[in-house]
Amino acid sequence: MNMFERTRRRAAPVLVAAGLAAGAWYAVAFLVGWARGVAFPTPHETAAELARLLAGRTLSGHLIYRHVGASLARWAAGFGIAAAAGTAYGLLAGWWRGLERATAPLVHAAQTVPGLAWIHAALLLFGIGERATVFMIAAAAFPPVAVSVLGGVKRVDATYVRAARMMGARGPTLLLRVLLPGALPHVLSGLRVGLGNGWRVVVAAEMIVGTGTGLGYSIIQARWTLDYTSGFACVAIICLVGLAVERCVFAPLERRTVERWHMPRAA
């Protein structure tokens, strides 16, 4: 099988699915227009608006790049905190049963809190602004990372730990050089979920905490100005960013680590 044929085989189902989704979208747009008499942005209108935005049309007084950049920066800050704290917690609690027993119920409880529900705590702690948003993102992304890392550490083959201790590994060496890589498939799956949670919260938080920039802010502003098409275009950008992170960060990371080492994937 040559390269071209392989690409075609892989792309075909994706294209068919995308075509069906677009068809359904057109159908909904048509039905809404017919039944409710309002203009529902269609795929090509959304694409055209997206092109205009990318070409330099401003939204709420800023270029789209500014909005995307602002959202990404908040997301990176909040998720970075959650990833570091969640991994550290998971490692420690996976190693030390006492910590796990005492705190795991709290983490599980925190996992049930929707990201946006942290808004009161965020506003009381940090007031309106950047830091409140980052706090909500971190609060939403922390539990899935923590729970996955903890579960992954507990599933690390006990003989690896034995072998490492026999070779003289203690404390931090054991945690960072054995338990962390041993739990990596679970760590990655936790980071994935945390990243998704975080992204959703960025957009939602920007809608509520008046940030002045960001994709969520733009979506809610577009809603007040009845500019639904650019709202749709912003949603499309959100999807594209999520897809890009999966393709450009997680997939290569997995190829370079877990797959290269032939480790079983996390469910």
Binding site: M166, M167, R177, P181, L184, W261
Partner: protein, 255 residues
Amino acid sequence: MIRLENIAKCYPAANGGPDGHVVLRDVSLAVAPGELLCVLGPSGCGKSTLLNLVAGFIRPTSGRVLFAGREVAAPGPDRGVVFQDPTLLPWLTVRRNVEFGLRAAGVPAERRRGLAAEAVRLVGLDGFEDAYPHVLSGGMRQRAALARVLVLRPEALLMDEPFGALDANSRERLQDELLGIWQAHRRTVLFVTHHVEEAAYLADRVVLLGPPAAGIRDEMTVELPRPRDRDGDALRRVIRQLRACLDGMPCCLCR
């Protein structure tokens, strides 16, 4: 070098009941410095438990385990363990696996590299330093597992059926290489196996471990000079004797 004094090891019953599961009862054993001692017994007789006690992975229910005169409290690089499964860390290359213990001990990178290269050469894995464990055959992985403990220059090697999962040819080759390394460096070796020929071929002394109630059933010093002829009558005689002892025990004991 290694001394077990009146060891007993019980595991609590699975259902939390009063009678735990006795694995070892009143076992005493001494291994002299430089000796190659094989512990031979049917599966389920507690051979691995005995080795894990010396390694420090588990603690005895009663009795004392002494290594170099000190009571064993934890695993450590002075007792290099080779497990039945190679248990190489899959995320490290052969070189990194071999360097692992040196790194934990804080040996500087350059010296680490030199020592690891030497150990890798000693077990015949040169050329595979940058390979990940999953691409190696079972025998090669076990060689790497041996290299990663040899590089730490342990005072004793604890080997838990290390060649049990290998094909017959690899097994014999690795036995010979182990003997070569042992003769060159004269480390104490505690070698656990259920394989009669292996025990007879390798050991200075074979200890036959029976079921828990029986404890150590017998002990035999193998006086044959090395290299031993695998097909020679002398070795065959030892094997016959050992087998006769084993046949006197119940087999396939439940764990």
